[in-house]
Symmetry: C2
Subunit: 338 residues, 2 copies
Amino acid sequence: MPDHFVALTRRALAATALTLAAVTPAPAQQAAGDPLPSWRDGQTKRAIQSLIGRVTRPGTRHFVAPTERVAVFDNDGTLWVEHPMYTQFAFAIDRLKEMTQRDPALLANPVLKAAVDGDMRVVMAAGERGLAEIIAVTHTGMSQDAFNSIATQWLANARHPRFNRPYTQLIYQPMLEAMRLLRREGFAVWIVTGGGQEFVRAFSGPTYNVPIAQVVGSVGKTEFRLLPDGKSELFRLPAIEAVDDGPGKPVGIGRFIGRRPIIAFGNSDGDIEMLQYATTSPGPRLGLFVHHDDAVREYAYDRETHVGKLDRGLTLAPAAGWRLISMRNDWLRIFPGS
Amino acid sequence: MPDHFVALTRRALAATALTLAAVTPAPAQQAAGDPLPSWRDGQTKRAIQSLIGRVTRPGTRHFVAPTERVAVFDNDGTLWVEHPMYTQFAFAIDRLKEMTQRDPALLANPVLKAAVDGDMRVVMAAGERGLAEIIAVTHTGMSQDAFNSIATQWLANARHPRFNRPYTQLIYQPMLEAMRLLRREGFAVWIVTGGGQEFVRAFSGPTYNVPIAQVVGSVGKTEFRLLPDGKSELFRLPAIEAVDDGPGKPVGIGRFIGRRPIIAFGNSDGDIEMLQYATTSPGPRLGLFVHHDDAVREYAYDRETHVGKLDRGLTLAPAAGWRLISMRNDWLRIFPGS
């Protein structure tokens, strides 16, 4: 374990000791050498460690070759904060504000105007078509490279309204540790997101240590264009190619990864089919839902919400054998350095 | 270099010495330590080595970080033999024969009957719709896992009509060496094929050392299904999702790889846009076409052919700076162990 990591851990344990005064104290397990120091010792942590142990011990019954070890993580609400709105939607609104300053004619569209004015009731009332309109205006009509620059620049400057920190710092430290442990144990770690694939790729490397080719997400159509100057580009068209959510997640996993995951982390009903695909196959398998039940350190929501709803998933979990990760009880700290 | 590889090389050099009696003898360059021993010393080999050298020397102007080093290879005609017909089509016909034995009613369809009878004129006259019908009947209506088993079993038993060897042995040794060298130099090596992604994934690992998640190809639609027994599957539907050919290749590269390749190998007009995408960007870049000009050891074809046509590509190559790999002159041997 590198020194800076030990230092971070110590600092975090000191900090969380205050926050967690009302909760049982951290047991001895969170000592140096524990690969999951931000996970409280308990059934959830032990289930993850047990699954990894069972598939990686050579010569035992459930041993899985390293090339077959696949772990998948949803992004919004599973790896980073998704409230009060999906980060990508905050990006879209900020970009829309910029665009309407340069081109006020865009405000003639009532949905775009409502989004700029922060009138989310009007935006929501427009349903999926309204959202699609906002995404089309802000995410397409440019090259893939241009979009990447726009997204990267926004991520470097934007701040979360409650935590006043860059969104890329509002990632879950326990999940970083789980990803690191899985990689160390030979797993390929993939992100399978309902969000825009290119948006998540803009930060997946430095933020999660997940290479862009291991990010599967929703994508719009692109077109190859030869330009008059002899260069070429992939141009982003205002049309949807694939929605990587719900039943689209196992389809995306099949297309990109080509193997059934052994362990799958989600947090919302959009992750149900991904967890089903991972866990309905012989051999040790594990599906987990992050349960947002920590209004003090993050947010508390599940069945009644527009963002990250976990309703059917909560109902299905017990019979399916999926584990709930209680943010409040299972996680000793939430964010890196906090 | 492992011993068995040296042995193979020696055996191959001895064998090709006979075949190549009419061609200039192998120069000293093909000695032990040469990472491309099956490539004759010449402009093509030097262009590949020079490109790799220019982007991998730290501190020099054109240095490219390892995470950005991407190499792409077409499959049919670039990595393995594509005549007298695409291997996947030979698979489809064999499978169709099997299926019609069990279910003769299929022969009521004239295109399917012609395919079984080997009457390729009728099949070709039915155009793309006829081919799509054959592919739909033989490639869909089953789970992804079932298809993988069928393809794997066929590949283990089928033999090429001229060479009487398994298709997976009719791969190009010089390309295996190029892939190995590129990987050694930090490149991610991808296959970008117009063929079926799952068909190529069925052999890419053991045959090319390319993991299945680094194979991009044409795909049909799949559907996630929960089964009555509590298991689940991806079911292959008779509908096309993406054609990874021509302009579809850069689109597939953007979606799967997310980076512009530095070096691209193709052999037909279906690879033009992939080569354009790779080579129309600043910095050292290289596009190469395998030119099938060796009727003795393999096949000779380019402008006038139904399989692997290289017509526009031949015309565009000089101005675009793409190099032709002359199978006859640039390759000291064609197949491994030959």
